[in-house]
Amino acid sequence: MTLSEGARAGTRKLEMLDSLLALGGLVLLRDSVEWEGRSLLKALVKKSALCGEQVHILGCEVSEEEFREGFDSDINNRLVYHDFFRDPLNWSKTGEALPGGPLGALRAMCKRTDLGPVTIALDSLSWLLLHLPCATLCQTLHAVSYQDSCPPGDGSPVGKVHVLGLLHEELHGPGPMGALSSLAQTEVTLGGTMGQASARILCRRPQQHPTDQTQWFSILPDFSLHLQEGPSKEFQPQSDPHIPLVDPMAHLTFNLHLSKKEREARDSLTLPFQFSSEKQEALLRPRPSQATSHIFYEPDAYDDLDQEDPDDDLDI
C-alpha cells in the first residue's frame, strides 16, 4: 500500500465508523452465528470512548472481564459496565442485582446524561427482546435514544445519545425485527464471503433518501477497524444470486448436443461389439487367402550382419 492509498483508506475508515455514529439515535448491529458482531460493537465503543464520551454498557451476554478484554486502561476508565450477566434473574440472591432490571438501568442512564454526549451499548438487544415485551422495550429505547430532541425538565442542554444495539438475527421473528428496524436510524447487517467480513449499512437521515452501502472490513486485535477491498467479483456470486453465472458450456472442446443429422448418423453406425447375422456369416466363411501366406522380411538397415559367421553376435 502506498502512502496516498494508506491515507485514503484511513479517511474511509473514519468515514465508516463516523457514519455509524454521526446520526445519533439507535444503531442496530445485526449479526449471525457465522459473523459475530461483538467485535464491531467493541470497535464502536472504543471509537466513542476515544471521542471523550461516557460509555455505558448493558452487559447481558458476556462477563465484564470478557467485554473489557482488549481495551487499554484509558478506554476502560471511560466504560461503565452494568452487569446483567452474573445474576440477571436474581436466582443466586447475591443482593447485587440492579433494581428495576435492565430497563430500570436504561432509564437511569438517560437521567444521567445531562453532562454531554453519551453512548449506550446494549449487549445484547436479543437478550432483552427474549425477556421483555417487545412494545415495552421499543418504548424505552425510543425514550432513551431521542431524549435530546425533547427539552429536559431543568432546561440544561442534553448531549447527543448513541444507542448501539447488538441483535442476533436468527433469534427473532419478523415482527420484533421490523419494529426495531423502524426505530433505528442506522442498521448494520453483518455478513461475508470467502472469509471476508462485510457490513451492509442502511442509514435513514431525516428528510433524505435512505442510503445503502456495503463495506468490507476486518477488526484488528486492538479493536480498530481496517477497511478492505471486497473480494474480487468472481468470488461474489454466492452473495448475490441475481448476478448471472458464467456459462460453463461456452468453451467446450466437445459437443454436448447433437443435431438431427448427427443423431441419425450415430444411430445408423454399427459398433464393433454389436453382433449381427452378417458378421456371424463373415466369420464362419473360410477365407480363400489363408492357404498361401507369405512372410516378408526386411533386415534392418543398420544391422551389423556378418555373412561368414552369423552367430558372431552371440559371443560364444
Binding site: 459475530e36 451476554e61 470478557e66 436466582w91 476486518s218 486485535p221
Partner: protein, 266 residues
C-alpha cells in the same frame, strides 16, 4: 475419547481450554458419539464432572464409557462424577416426598416454568470443596440433551436462562467448561428449538455439528462433522474458523477424513 477428534480440535486432556461453552448439535443423524467423547475426555482430564443425562440410563453410558477406557461406576464412587439420571429421577418427582426441590421440579409444577432447581443441583454438585483430598482440576457440566427439556414443556428462553446461569457460574466464576447437545430439527418447523439452537450458538465458543449425509445413509461414511470456532474475528484468520470432515464410527473409535476421501471410496 477419540484421539482423532482431539487432533482436529487441537486439544488433549492435559491442556484443554477452560471457561468455554461447547455446543454439540446433530441434524439427521445421531450425535451421541460426541457426548461420549467429551464425557471420557473430561474424566481422563481429572475434572469434576456433572452429567445431566436425560436420554439414556446410567448403564448405557457406562458400557460405552468402558469401551472408551473410563469406568463411570468407579468415577461416581470416588466422587468425580455426579450423574443425574433423568429417566429414573423423573419418577421420583411424582412418587417420593421431597423436603427440598427436586432438580426436575418443573415436571410437577407447570407454573414454575424455569430450571432454577436444576441449576441449584448443578451448582451444588460442582461447588469447589475445600477438603483438597480429591483434587479435581476444574468443573465440567455435560447435558444430553437440551432438546428433551423443550419436549417436556419448557420454553426455549427458560432453557437458555439455565445455560446462562451455568455459564456465569461454571465458565466465568469457576473457570470450568460446559458441553451441551441440542438436536437440529432441520426442515421440520420447530420455532422453540430453533431459538434454543441459535441462542446457544451465539453464546458458545465452539460448535460441533454432526450432519447426516445429504445423499442418504452409507455404510462407510456415517456423516459429516462441521467444526466452527467462534473466536473474535481478529485472533485467527476467518478462513480457519470452519472445517468440515466426514466420519465413520467404529467399535471403539471414530475415524475422520476429508470430504470424499473415505478409504472405502479411494
Amino acid at each position: 475419547m477419540f484421539p482423532e477428534l482431539n487432533n482436529l480440535l487441537n486439544t488433549t486432556p492435559d491442556r484443554a481450554e477452560q471457561g468455554k461453552l461447547t455446543l454439540l448439535c446433530d441434524a439427521k443423524t445421531d450425535g451421541s458419539f460426541l457426548v461420549h467423547h467429551f464425557l471420557s475426555f473430561y474424566l481422563k482430564a481429572n475434572c469434576k464432572v456433572c452429567f445431566v443425562a436425560l436420554i439414556q440410563s446410567f448403564s448405557h453410558y457406562n458400557i460405552v464409557g468402558q469401551k472408551l477406557g473410563v469406568n463411570l461406576t468407579m468415577a461416581r464412587e470416588r466422587g468425580q462424577l455426579v450423574f443425574l439420571e433423568g429417566l429414573k429421577s423423573a419418577v421420583d418427582v411424582f412418587f417420593q416426598a421431597q423436603e427440598k426441590p427436586h432438580p426436575l421440579q418443573f415436571l410437577r409444577e407447570a407454573s414454575a416454568g424455569n430450571l432454577k432447581p436444576l441449576f441449584e443441583f448443578v451448582r451444588v454438585a460442582l461447588k469447589p470443596v475445600d477438603s483438597g483430598a480429591a483434587g479435581w482440576t476444574y468443573p465440567v457440566l455435560l447435558v444430553d440433551d437440551l432438546s428433551v427439556l423443550l419436549s417436556l414443556g419448557l420454553g426455549a428462553v427458560a432453557v437458555l436462562d439455565f445455560i446462562h446461569y451455568c455459564r456465569a457460574t461454571l465458565c466465568w466464576e469457576l473457570k470450568g467448561n460446559v458441553v451441551v447437545l441440542v438436536h437440529d430439527s432441520g426442515d421440520v418447523e420447530d420455532e422453540e428449538n430453533d431459538i434454543l439452537l441459535n441462542g446457544l450458538s451465539h453464546q458458545s465458543h465452539l460448535i460441533l455439528r454432526a450432519e447426516g449425509l445429504a445423499t442418504g445413509f452409507c455404510r462407510d461414511v456415517h456423516g459429516q462433522l462441521r467444526i466452527l470456532w467462534r473466536r473474535p474475528s481478529q485472533s485467527t484468520s476467518q478462513r480457519d474458523q470452519s472445517l468440515t470432515y466426514q466420519y465413520k464410527i467404529q467399535d471403539r473409535s471414530v475415524s475422520f477424513f476429508a470430504k470424499g476421501m473415505s478409504p472405502a471410496v479411494l
